[in-house]
């Protein structure tokens, strides 16, 4: 099931003009606030009618302004998880969960409510009302409610934005589980690069109302030209296998044959994980560094160098672990004589890798 979106919509002072596709897995619409992400999702859900556009989900045309087709929201079969939850306050958690399911024809009911309730840990909440739930609990219920409506695609508009870090950490694994269960495809909107790095199988970058790039997460995040959330949020994602957990609180990974050390992660040996390495946490060295406290040193070769407007330069480095981004000053780049093809080493402090940047 692939979603194809092409739409234009204008307001005074802002033009939205996007075209992208969302294949199976998690497609993340990634951009700053105000870049038009929510408008795109609202148009896909049918809550906003764009001036022109065409939206196709699988073989169903949801919108085609050229032909005057605009399917009303209730027939689109899309589950929508809103930023603010939007649970029905007068219904219990169980009634909220079953609201959409009761409206789905019996033939389309494939999802087992008990499984969803177990997966999202909602069992103890079923008879409570939304007013008594915490923010994280509300969002879990909202996800369950959307799933149980038997959607052909799940839309999530910054579902974690209103939550604090511990609540985010509580919900992210559920979404990862959902992605890995291979069920409905998900269109996920966020401005958080950490969420992109952890969740995305496909990334669509949105800047000022225009799609600037789309592709697999590693490719897009490893592209120095794509920094929709600003250069400070730039960082590449690498995949690695957990080797062993050491007694001193470290986890050793195997990233393309090189060892990588992280603060202890909750994934058993043998498991795969994704780590986002922020470009500004990477130090470059021409020679193999010695007498350094940093545990992670990856040999590599400069694949590209991008000088910025300011004092910084973005270096794209091919390493055995995958493509890395390093942000250094232009002065350092010149002093090291960095150019395409230069051999150098990437140095990363273990403790600089934040827990929210590591996911299954």
């Amino acid at each position: 099931m692939t979603l194809e979106v092409r739409l234009r919509h204008g307001w005074p002072g802002f033009d939205l003009d996007v075209a992208f596709r969302a294949p199976a897995g998690v497609t993340v619409l990634y951009g700053r606030s105000g870049s038009g992400k929510s408008t795109v999702v609202d148009a896909v859900a049918g809550l906003l009618r764009p001036q022109s556009g065409r939206i196709v989900l699988g073989d169903r045309v949801l919108l085609d302004t050229d032909r005057g087709v605009a399917m009303p929201p209730h027939r689109r079969r899309l589950g929508y998880v809103f930023q603010d939850g939007r649970l029905f306050p007068h219904l219990t958690v169980r009634q909220n969960l079953m609201y959409g399911r009761r409206l789905a024809p019996a033939a389309r009911r494939r999802t087992d409510p008990e499984r969803v309730i177990a997966m999202l840990g909602l069992g103890p909440l079923l008879s409570r009302r939304p007013g008594t739930l915490s923010g994280g609990e509300k969002q879990r219920v909202a996800i369950g409610r959307a799933l149980l409506a038997e959607p052909e695609m799940l839309l999530a508009d910054e579902p974690l934005a209103s939550l604090d870090a511990p609540r985010k950490a509580e919900i992210l694994p559920y979404i990862e589980r959902l992605r890995d269960a291979g069920g409905v495809p998900i269109l996920y909107v966020t401005h958080s690069v950490a969420e992109v790095a952890r969740l995305a199988t496909w990334v669509v970058a949105l800047e000022a109302g225009h799609t600037t790039r789309e592709g697999p997460a590693q490719e897009v995040l490893g592209d120095p030209m794509v920094t929709p959330a600003g250069v400070r949020a730039a960082g590449a994602v690498i995949e690695a296998t957990v080797m062993r957990h050491h007694d001193d609180g470290l986890t050793e990974l195997d990233a393309g044959g090189t060892p990588l050390f992280l603060p202890r992660v909750g994934i058993a040996a043998g498991g795969r994980l994704r780590v986002r390495i922020a470009a500004q946490d990477v130090i470059l060295s021409r020679g193999a560094p010695e007498g350094l406290s940093a545990l992670n040193v990856l040999p590599g070769r400069v694949a590209a160098l991008r000088q910025g407007e300011g004092p910084g330069a973005m270096v794209v480095l091919d390493t055995p672990a995958g493509r890395l981004l390093a942000r250094v000053t232009r002065r350092s780049a010149a002093a090291l004589g960095l150019a395409e093809g230069t051999e150098c080493h990437a140095v990363m402090k273990t403790v600089a890798i934040a827990p929210e940047d590591v996911g299954a």
Binding site: H74, R75, R77, Y80, P89, H90, Y99, G131, R145, A149
Partner: protein, 230 residues
């Protein structure tokens, strides 16, 4: 109620009946108009809004006279109704219509405020879950505006109980048919020795009004807790 005389008791019963039907029959159109005014944009919206509120501002006698012109035996709507045996003039049903028209703005205002307090985002959420708009209204909007409907209905009921000017102008003051509680109080005050009867009816009025208020408070509090999601 042995302390009420038969004429007084008759007026009380009639008023309760008039107010009950006036409230019940104005609820569906009242909710519809309130929802339309709160949520929809349409040509003539200000006109509709003005029309609904007119009885609140016009002298009740004028409203009663306009009702008489429209629904009287010679009126454009009164004549066909009369032919069908549903004439309103000088009948208790006419009193109910007058009370409903006078109470309508109070009902609409109260319901409209509560519709405006419902987050349209909840209705959108219901739609994305597969609910057609009528179902969204029945299962999300309606339960959430119930406190407003209740408050409006009780206000309308109290107004209908006490309506005097439009009623007496439209359907006169016929004992047993259109002599509602306020008309009866007025009549008793016109005859010598009627003060005692008038006073007893005043007591009944106060009791009914207080009971209505107390009931609405209790129900509203219970529903408000439900709507707040506790």
């Amino acid at each position: 109620m042995t302390w009420l005389g038969p004429a007084e008791w008759e007026a009380v019963r009639l008023s309760l009946r008039v107010a009950f039907w006036a409230t019940l029959l104005s609820l569906p159109p009242g909710i519809f108009v309130a929802y339309a005014l709160a949520r929809w944009q349409f040509p003539g919206k200000s006109l509709l809004n003005g029309l609904v509120h007119l009885p609140l501002i016009l002298p009740p006698v004028v409203t009663g006279y306009l009702l008489l012109l429209t629904f009287g035996p010679q009126g454009p709507l009164g004549r066909p109704l009369e032919a069908m045996g549903l004439g309103l003039a000088f009948r208790w049903t006419g009193a109910a219509l007058a009370a409903a028209v006078m109470a309508f703005p109070l009902l609409v205002r109260s319901v409209r405020l509560s519709v405006e307090a419902v987050d349209p985002g909840l209705e959108e959420a219901a739609a994305t879950l597969g609910a057609p708009s009528a179902w969204v209204f029945a299962t999300v909007t309606l339960p959430l505006i119930l406190p407003g409907i209740l408050a409006g209905a009780i206000l309308a009921f109290a107004k209908a109980m006490g309506e005097f000017g439009a009623t007496i102008t439209f359907v006169s003051n016929i004992p047993g048919e259109t002599r509602t509680l306020p008309s009866a109080v007025y009549t008793f005050l016109q005859v010598p020795g009627g003060e005692a009867s008038a006073l007893r009816l005043v007591v009944v009025s106060v009791i009914v009004a207080m009971a209505a208020l107390a009931l609405s408070e209790i129900l509203a509090r219970r529903i408000a807790a439900r709507v707040a999601g506790r």
